[in-house]
Symmetry: none
Subunit: 198 residues, 4 copies
């Protein structure tokens, strides 16, 4: 029997665990966390309610796990292809486009992120752990600032005018009030750039 053919399954990475997380993601973005009973998640995931507790300590713990795993996946996707040698604007557009692509491919995760980032359900520890992952992105802005490519203004304002508009449009996209066509994307990116460029 060839052991190499077997996919090595741990509790961290099993089919059931994945099914549970997917079901949870789907249901809580749809109905909200409190309005989604464990029994419903179990049904959707095709497991018994008790099984969920083999993989997670509590209903709330699932939230933290989803949040953290999402943050990691998002960061990895966002910095794909990024190099410090890239010219400032190219670098920023690459990051933005990566970010946007990930969110468009994972609309449920985006909805989840929007819903829970500022929610009392996500505890402080998880929030901070999550934010640490994000730090690579800060650097591009700092470098672009020192190269005088973009305005020398507080980084918070820079973020506000780059990420917030994209997130807003993503939200509208999800409720069919906006289409992320290539043309619209270019217009939006250009507006971001106009907002921050020197």
């Amino acid at each position: 029997m060839n052991v190499h053919l077997y996919y090595y399954m741990t509790k961290e990475n099993s089919e059931k665990r994945t099914a549970i997380l997917c079901a949870t993601l789907k249901l809580i973005t749809e109905n909200g966390f409190a309005a989604t009973p464990i029994s419903l998640i179990a049904k959707e995931a095709g497991v018994a309610a008790g099984t969920i507790y083999l993989y997670f300590n509590s209903k709330e713990a699932m939230l933290q796990v989803i949040y953290l795993e999402f943050k990691e996946a998002l960061t990895n996707a966002t910095i794909a292809g990024f190099s410090e040698n890239l010219p400032g604007r190219v670098a920023i557009e690459l990051l933005l486009q990566n970010y946007l692509n990930f969110m468009l491919k994972n609309p449920l995760k985006f909805k989840f992120f929007e819903q829970f980032t500022n929610s009392p359900y996500i505890n402080k520890l998880t929030k901070e752990t999550g934010l640490k992952i994000f730090y690579p992105i800060v650097q591009v802005f700092e470098r672009a600032k020192s190269e005088r490519l973009i305005k020398d203004i507080p980084v918070q304002i820079l973020y506000a005018h780059v990420l917030a508009p994209i997130n807003h449009l993503l939200r509208q996209h999800l409720i069919d009030e906006f289409q992320f066509t290539p043309e619209n994307t270019q217009i939006a990116f250009q507006a971001c750039w106009d907002a921050i460029k020197s």
Copy 2:
């Protein structure tokens, strides 16, 4: 005492009703809707739990009421001093500043808005009713577009680059990660303008 000074109290605006709404606003922005029992709201408002049902049909109904009343107050505050004769940029800055001032003066209401605008707790009907109130603002953008003051791009993108950054900074302001000093406000407004101006 002049009889005209007496405030005519109906169910729509009695002291108790106000106390209940305030308590609800405070508690659910703090702990979330599901984590705020009616009993706690009653305690905070200084009334009996049963009394709440004299003023509202259900716990969820309170949410809709708060949402709608908030939207109306916000709109009124935002268009204060606005006239169709104002030059485009001045008009937009006035609206923005009004909006910002209202939110800074009513941080709980801003938090509530952020938390519930995209939540499943707010039903579709309420959402649409709420959005209708916002329409006055559309006009300014449309006019500015036709006057070639700002880019001729989809209005959704305009919104995204004007309101979303301000909301983002408000959120950061509330968690003490950003200060809305006059200087920062000017920088942020300028960036909004740079993003959309022709």
Copy 3:
């Protein structure tokens, strides 16, 4: 309407509270604490399950309350008619008889006491609070010792030979293996006395 006719009912002393405590006492002495669901207690007490939580914080809290109220009632019953002037043996027999009468009249409470005094369900704090009530009884033994009426031996051994036999016989009485006839009672008391007298 004559207010004096009304029995003043507080949460500490209401019909429902009493019914709940009685039902609990009956059911847990019969089936054990863990084998007695709250739903069953509610049914037996003729109230809704939720009502129980108006009077007690948790299932376990009921146990503590029953234990403490029992200890107090027992102590009061035991020291009834007791005075420091009574001769030693008379005093001890009075206490013993009082104790026995109370237990015979409250067999469920005796069963409860036996079952829970040394159980991990009763927390340390409750145990100690309960024991403090018992102190009056210590004094009689100390006095009798100093008067050379009874043996000058450790008080623990005195207890062992007075209370333990009576408790044992009470236990047998409850399962119909022994009858506390006046004659048997006299024999048992005499044996207690023989065990400890000088």
Copy 4:
């Protein structure tokens, strides 16, 4: 190696079975039966949860087994060295001392015995089976009574004044409120004797 020394292992006395029983005894005397999950017993015993069901039919069955095995071991230990020819008081003291020694050497088993003898978890059948084992001890008392060594009073009362005090002191000993020093033991035994002697 001599083949006779090999211990023949059946389900009745394998290492795993013993480990399971020990773990159970330890855990349920500490936390109570209901508060001790099978999973914890399995962990403590170093076996899988499922393994326990190879040796016992149910969680409750383990209790019965422990109870019966304990009763048998206790009886054997108690009657060690006993002969019908021994003089009455010597016989009684021998039995008492044997009983006491066994309990002092097996404090967990004593705790278990105290906790479960009168518990609803031990079913009637087990109780009766268990009590039959104890009968040898009755005889000594009956003989002593007929020899007029001890009072001619109901055997239940005799038990009450001999075993109950010792059990009480054992209980106190286990919670460090009493020391079974040779001196204290002698005092206690003497009191037992004084209680029942003619």
